[in-house]
């Protein structure tokens, strides 16, 4: 039975598939040469980082409390959000209180997860994405398809069209021109902003510092003119101490983009001091749960070690063919196949097909900087779906079949009526949910149903 993800992959335009494949392969190659060129103990480091994260998760209650205590001492205002709605309202509450209507944002998966931008717009806040890729995604009203490279699915011609459409110059496909135009356009947005919204890559419980990394310098730019800084941070981002940050930063840059270190690595432990003319006077951190504590209680808790490097996406043969959008959730690829159904909670069934979209080749585990046993977790989720009898999206409803199979008269009728199917052209959509999708990749053979029963009947007659 094809799952929605298979159908998406099958229908992906060849150009997009090629763009995604190139991007993913390049990411994979850069990671490999940098990480293995710089270290001869890569597996030890991956295991170590995984163990530190697992330890933190197993004691998350203690570390979260410690982090919060330190942050408050540092003058950071702390908020908690149990779900997306909470998170959006918390952000809006802070902005309202400060009369802030112009916001610049630095790329953050947590804000994508809670669909923050649309909510802010609805509430009269102009919110501009500043990461080049996210800026283009926002112009296109699209969604990111990769954790690190949000527009991995777009080529330069599509971007040139977008810029032209939005008045950012004539059609021009030169990446340098595109980048310069975005630079010029976004500068005034930064300078006029009231608040800057970011995520965080890590939080040190020991010092209460949050760490934000960008290559473009956009988070730094958001946090220079802005008077208010709001960071939306998943509770799993905590590490025990500052010392741990060195290990994680070394692994993150190399795993994500094949850089020894991401270019701008900012350590923030509170609002600016008076001696510094630029930077937020108020710092807010919103700790986001949104299914994380529930995931922590499951036997798939290892997925919370994830540091969002995207390496598993780059290496995954399914991701490479299907692209991130096939996963229908902000987190695509192997990490998303595990995380999305778990974070979905009661809506687990909506994403129950994702854990099946893997050949369990194990490559994702091998590249993961925190050694998450992704294939094992995928199997556990498949079992969960099986145990709980969760129908996958796209699965054909089985009740009509069950009814027919247990009622001989209905069955006979269906067999006789089945021949009608031969008269329906392939292009006509059948009113059975899921069947249309299934048929997109298949043509039905001619109906020859009922013959077996006939044959059996006559055969029995002969024998008696």
């Amino acid at each position: 039975m094809p799952q929605p993800i298979d159908t998406f992959a099958a229908n992906l335009p060849a150009g997009t598939r090629a763009t995604v494949l190139d991007g993913a392969e390049a990411g994979f190659d850069m990671r490999k040469s940098r990480l293995h060129g710089d270290y001869d103990n890569v597996d030890r480091l991956r295991k170590l980082a995984g163990d530190i994260k697992q330890h933190t998760l197993d004691h998350l209650d203690e570390y979260l409390e410690k982090a919060v205590g330190r942050m408050e001492q540092n003058g950071t205002q702390i908020h908690f959000a149990t779900d997306s709605d909470d998170a959006r309202k918390a952000v809006m509450g802070i902005l309202r209180k400060a009369n802030a209507t112009r916001v610049v944002k630095s790329k953050s998966m947590a804000t994508e997860e809670v669909h923050l931008n649309a909510y802010l717009e609805e509430n009269g806040v102009a919110c501009v994405e500043t990461d080049l890729g996210e800026f283009i995604v926002q112009l296109d009203k699209d969604t990111p398809s990769h954790i690190i490279k949000p527009i991995m699915h777009k080529n330069r011609r599509q971007i040139a069209e977008t810029f032209e459409k939005h008045g950012l110059g004539d059609y021009n496909t030169d990446p340098q021109t595109i980048t310069r135009r975005a630079r010029a356009h976004l500068r005034s947005r930064y300078m006029e902003c009231d608040a800057g919204i970011t995520g965080a890559n890590f939080v040190s419980a020991e010092s209460g510092r949050i760490v934000i990394v960008t290559n473009e310098g956009n988070a730094r730019f958001c946090l220079a003119p802005a008077k208010i800084h709001i960071a939306l941070v998943g509770i799993e981002k905590i590490v025990p101490s500052d010392r741990d940050l060195g290990l994680f930063l070394n692994l993150l840059g190399r795993s994500a983009t094949g850089q020894q270190l991401t270019i701008y690595t900012e350590f923030i432990s509170g609002p600016r001091r008076d001696s510094q003319p630029h930077g937020p006077e108020e710092m807010h951190v919103i700790f986001l749960d949104n299914g994380r504590s529930r995931t922590l209680a499951t036997d798939c808790r290892e997925i919370l070690r994830c540091i969002r490097c995207g390496a598993c996406q780059n290496v995954c043969p399914v991701y490479r063919q299907a692209s991130g959008h096939a996963y229908r959730h902000v987190y695509g690829g192997p990490v998303g196949a595990v995380l999305s159904p778990l974070l979905a909670g009661e809506k687990f069934a909506d994403y129950a097909d994702l854990p099946k979209a893997s050949s369990l080749c194990g490559a994702c585990n091998e590249v993961c900087p925190v050694d998450i046993p992704i294939p094992d977790l995928l199997l556990k989720l498949r079992n969960k779906a099986h145990r709980e009898n969760v129908p996958s999206p796209g699965a054909l409803p089985m009740q009509p079949f069950a009814k027919m199979a247990t009622h001989p008269s209905l069955w006979r009728l269906a067999m006789r009526g089945g021949a009608v199917a031969n008269l329906i052209p392939d292009s006509v959509k059948l009113p059975v949910p899921g069947l249309g999708t299934w048929l997109q990749q298949r043509t039905l053979p001619e109906w020859r149903g009922g013959k077996f029963r006939n044959w059996m009947k006559h055969r029995n007659g002969k024998n008696s």
Binding site: R183, M191, S207, L223, A224, L245, Y264
Partner: protein, 199 residues
Amino acid sequence: MSTVLDNVRSALAARKEKAPYPAWEDAEVVSTPKLAQGSLVDCFSANMKAVSGLVMHSVAEVEQFLAQGHHLHGYCAPELAEVIGTKLGAGITFSTDFDEACYDDYTFGITRATAAIAESGTIVLNDRDTSCRLGALTPWVHIAVVEAATIHRTLGAAIAALGDDPNTIWVTGPSKTADVEGILIQGVHGPGIQIALIV
């Protein structure tokens, strides 16, 4: 206490086995090939060049570079005006007061670095030592003045020295993106040219 914390507590309540904190040595996380160049200044220089940064050793070198690139007006941190700013000839002018209304007029920014990291070719800017964040960010050329004695050997050492400044930023080369088809472009939002002037 918050619901989130309560939820975390109850998620962990039934757990019997909890992973201990693993033992590890700082040396395990050091990339030794990155420190093979000899002195700290040499390692820093080699690694900074590897990320497309420029390393200079005299004001004259900076002056020549700025003049050649027609970067003729910029910002210079007040505490560096006498030792560096006023020594720049060749028609180069500077202001020690960053005027936000004219942020695009500054083609270079000269600010003080708190430290540097040899292992990664990184410049460390603490809020306390950076006269203003924008002066090191909006100009096309950023010149960070690094005292040789402040160079840390490793990332770990730089982290241990973070101290109590509420804001520290590590800068490892010029601002970059590879968002458009993976093609590397320098100078996205921050400087397109990152210079370390070692004194």
